[in-house]
């Protein structure tokens, strides 16, 4: 346990574990400090400066996302801080040409609405080179990017693929996949983690292009990813009108995966509504065709078939392949079935490789 330190927040006494980031310590005391470039999964960056607060003894305000609480610290969020925040928002708006490329939430626009901030002008060099990617999953509009560098740092620090780069210096700097190539030609695995951390929705899911409904108008249904045994927590985003899943997201508060997903978990959900999907048991009849059946009948048929093989050829003639999409517990039961009921040690799952 870290020792507790006391500090003051806008004149009120407060306490926090020593070394806690100010932005968290303040939140626990009911003071919300907005951030754009901060993400708990990443090292403190302190780039957007939205979260600057006054700290007694410091000649300049300090970023709450990168400053740790010390004993006796005096922090203020109400002197010049609100004006700085508004001005910084105006600055970001001065080059924010497209606030909504793909329906994802835009935290900058939320902040602008809350603070009543407007761009005094659009910078003449605000327009960035267009980026068109031939991959089918992720889209990116550089005109919505605020260069907070969250996505780039995510690819470096979390995914360790560094598929995105902050390129250049000065007004022509931009964020793009390595060299401006297609994501498919970089070390990207299309996990979509970069889009999940983007605060303005500049990177977005192409997959949901069937719906024009913004993400916030979708109903989130919490679920567990079925693709492997890790058990990533996901939110199925359901279009309330059509009752169809149109995208999958995850939240960084979810324990097992902290909001991270892989390409399958995030993008491969179209099987849910696919017409080829099996929705009831099928049993092959005398005619060689598959026919709908009850679960009792289907299980009975399978059991008889396996029993028959075992009697005719012995238990070692049976091998069991378990789906990679089963959980650890289900896999345990499969091997139990294979070894104790069927009597074979030939049991495998592609998750083993």
């Amino acid at each position: 346990m870290k020792p507790t330190v006391t500090f003051t927040l806008d004149g009120q006494k407060a306490s926090a574990p020593e070394g806690e980031l100010l932005v968290h310590a303040a939140a626990r005391h009911g003071v919300f400090i907005p951030t754009l470039c901060h993400d708990d999964k990443l090292d403190p960056y302190g780039g957007c400066r939205m979260c600057v607060v006054g700290v007694e003894g410091s000649p300049r305000p300090l970023p709450a996302c990168a400053t740790r609480v010390r004993e006796g610290m005096a922090v203020s969020t109400n002197s010049s801080v609100p004006q700085y925040r508004k001005t910084l928002t105006e600055m970001l708006l001065a080059e924010h040409l497209n606030p909504n490329p793909g329906g994802r939430p835009n935290e900058l626009m939320d902040m602008a609405a809350e603070l009543g901030a407007e761009a005094p002008f659009i910078l003449p060099d605000a327009k960035r080179e267009e980026y068109d990617d031939r991959n089918r999953l992720m889209g990116y509009d550089p005109d919505a990017c605020i260069l907070c560098n969250r996505c780039v740092r995510y690819t470096q620090e979390v995914m360790q693929c560094s598929a995105l780069s902050l390129e250049g210096r000065g007004p022509h700097a931009r964020i793009v996949p390595t060299h401006g190539y297609s994501w498919l030609d970089t070390e990207c695995e299309l996990c979509g983690g970069c889009l999940s951390v983007c605060p303005t929705g500049a990177i977005y899911e192409k997959f949901e292009e069937g719906t024009r409904r913004p993400e916030r108008a979708l109903t989130k249904v919490k679920s567990t990813c079925t693709f492997c045994g890790v058990g990533c927590q996901i939110d199925l985003n359901v279009d309330p009108e059509t009752n169809r899943i149109v995208k999958v997201t995850s939240d960084s508060s979810y324990v097992s995966n902290e909001g991270n997903l892989c390409v399958k978990g995030r993008f491969a959900f179209n099987f849910v509504h696919h017409p080829d999907r099996l929705t009831e048991p099928l049993v092959r009849g005398e005619d060689g065709e598959l026919h709908p059946a009850t679960w009792e009948h289907a299980l009975q048929t399978a059991a008889e078939g396996l029993q028959g093989v075992k009697e005719r050829h012995g238990p070692l003639a049976i091998g069991v392949l378990a789906s990679a999409r089963l959980t650890m517990e289900e896999n345990y039961l499969i091997q139990k079935l294979a070894r104790t009921v069927l009597g074979t040690n030939s049991v495998h799952s592609c998750e083993a490789t």
Binding site: R49, E167, G168, H179
Partner: protein
């Protein structure tokens, strides 16, 4: 060539520079090959390559300086002419201050400096004919004495060189003398050198010493003069710092544009090594690749570690957490070159060299509308008029505006000619002495254009890490560009809010300092900004 390149991440910038020099511009394919060889992910090498201005340019590209002094002398038209004259395949690029303001309008072709550019000079440069010799205009002085040139180590030793290093006082004594001298960093920030050295000594070993030779502040040429004329003196100061800090590895981060300094330093370091003066120590030159921001000390450390040169959040300061996370003593070239004189004659004697209550001497870069542009050693406490008249041979024109010490130091009207150029003297004027890069502009050069160019420079050089610097400078550049056409992009009050946010919330000196010249201009040339409306009431 790849297999022979070292693979440590700290060698990335050096590897990229060598490839550019020996093979050619760093293309995406070359970038990926280096990444694979060094086991760095490709995207991270891409970030680094694109950060610098020169890695994707051929070595023999023609670079035309468009720093403020060169701009005032028609650099833009010269660049245009150069583009017309250049054959296909020879890139002509406009670059921010090349650090040769005494020879303005200036350019470079490869390692060759092109002084006093004109159409004939451009033709010569493009056809590869030798150009006129580069000369120094300087004076003698009690501390660094640029009138003397260290041609060889023997030369320097014959004049008493390395006597300080051979009879080095205790660390306590060194700190005492430095404090008594009141020497403060001459790179521009002005932090007391004795306090910095003491802070580094308090941190546990191992420690590093880094000399900041990334001189890029527009109008500032003093470090180049020191390295070209007194390399041995500077190295003696550096070795004193290394002995003091117990550092076995020292680095000099040198801007790529200073080819002569590179040659002179390389030769001097070799001489020192052969003479046994580097026993157990190494001094390494790290060559930059064109990025003003790498002169900011933490950006420089990032650059040395093979990443984009983006400033770190401070605290912690480099004296605690510096190069590779270890305590690091960082000094500017000129600052370190004063150390031998201070230890030889005593800090108090050195401090007494100042005048009007100021302490010590410094090197003043004088350029623009003066008869003898150059670099002169003169007391702190000197006024602009003294520097211009006594050293630079007087003004050539009616003076319109003066920048006292680099782009972020401020812009002063001719009324300020008799103000001592010290922190205290300039405080009331809302300016600073900065790097002492004094640029004198004639009345014919509009302060609004100077301001617009200054903000363009800051916008171009912003590393893109923080919002206020990244967009604030572009916004103000836009404001002044519009104003030149009589249009108002935002009212004065709002512009002042932007300046406040930039000064207060930028990460490093670039964004914190760039509001100074704007506020000066608002104050000293109110008529130029009348269209913007009333200033904010404070």
């Amino acid at each position: 060539m790849l297999p022979e390149l070292p693979t440590a991440r700290t060698r990335l910038l050096d590897n990229l520079g060598r490839i550019r020099r020996e093979v050619g511009p760093v293309t995406p394919e070359v970038s990926d090959a280096i990444a694979d060889h060094m086991n760095i992910r490709r995207g991270e090498v891409d970030e680094v390559v694109s950060f610098y201005s020169f890695l994707r340019l051929p070595v023999d590209a023609l670079r035309v300086c468009i720093g403020p002094v060169c701009d005032c002398l028609g650099a833009r038209e010269l660049a245009e002419q150069a583009r017309e004259l250049a054959p296909a395949g020879l890139p002509v690029v406009e670059v921010e201050c090349l650090g040769h303001c005494d020879l303005a309008p200036a350019g470079t072709r490869g390692d060759l400096v092109l002084p006093s550019l004109s159409r004939p000079a451009l033709e010569d440069a493009i056809e590869g004919r030798p150009t006129s010799l580069v000369f120094h205009s300087t004076n003698t002085g009690p501390s660094i004495d640029l009138a003397t040139t260290d041609e060889t180590l023997l030369d320097y030793e014959a004049r008493g060189g390395f006597a300080v290093l051979r009879n080095l006082p205790s660390n306590e004594r060194i700190v005492e003398e430095l404090k008594a001298s009141s020497l403060a960093g001459y790179g521009g920030a002005g932090f007391p050198t004795g306090v910095k050295w003491e802070a580094v000594a308090r941190e546990p070993a191992p420690r590093y010493v880094v000399i900041n030779a990334d001189e890029g502040e527009p109008g500032t040429i003093k470090d180049r003069y020191v390295m070209e004329r007194r390399p041995h003196l500077m190295l003696e100061g550096m070795l004193v710092a290394m002995r003091f800090a117990g550092a076995t590895e020292g680095f000099i981060y040198l801007r790529e544009e200073y080819a002569t300094a590179r040659v002179r330093l390389t030769r001097a370091i070799d001489e020192l090594r052969l003479a046994g003066l580097l026993e157990g120590l190494s001094i390494e030159l790290v060559i930059g690749a064109g990025a003003y921001i790498c002169g900011e000390e933490t950006a420089m450390l990032e650059s040395m570690e093979g990443r984009r040169g983006m400033p770190r959040l401070k605290p912690p300061f480099p004296s605690e957490v510096g190069y590779l996370g270890l305590p690091t003593l960082i000094n500017n070239v000129e600052t370190i070159a004063h150390v031998p004189a201070i230890l030889r004659n005593g800090g108090a004697a050195w401090a007494a060299l100042g005048k009007r209550g100021a302490t010590g001497v410094r090197l003043w870069s004088l350029s623009g509308a003066v008869r003898l542009p150059g670099c002169y050693e003169a007391p702190n406490g000197s006024t602009l008029r003294e520097l211009i008249d006594e050293h630079a041979g007087g003004a050539t024109d009616e003076i319109g505006a003066i920048v006292p010490g680099g782009a972020a130091s401020g812009i002063l009207p001719p009324d300020a000619l008799d103000v001592p150029l010290t922190r205290d003297g300039l405080r009331d004027w809302g300016a600073g002495a900065g790097s002492a890069g004094v640029q004198v502009f004639p009345a014919s050069y509009s302060p609004l254009r100077l301001l617009r160019e200054t903000m363009r420079f800051f916008a171009e050089e912003s590393c893109q890490k923080c919002t206020p610097c990244r967009i604030g400078n572009r916004g103000l550049h836009h404001l002044f560009e519009q104003l030149e056409h009589g249009r108002v992009a935002m009212p004065r009050g709002q512009a002042e809010e932007w300046l406040d946010a930039m000064a207060a919330t930028s990460i490093c000196g670039l964004g914190q300092g760039s509001p100074f010249p704007v506020r000066n201009a608002f104050r000293f040339w109110p008529d130029l900004f009348a269209r913007l409306g009333e200033p904010a009431v404070r």
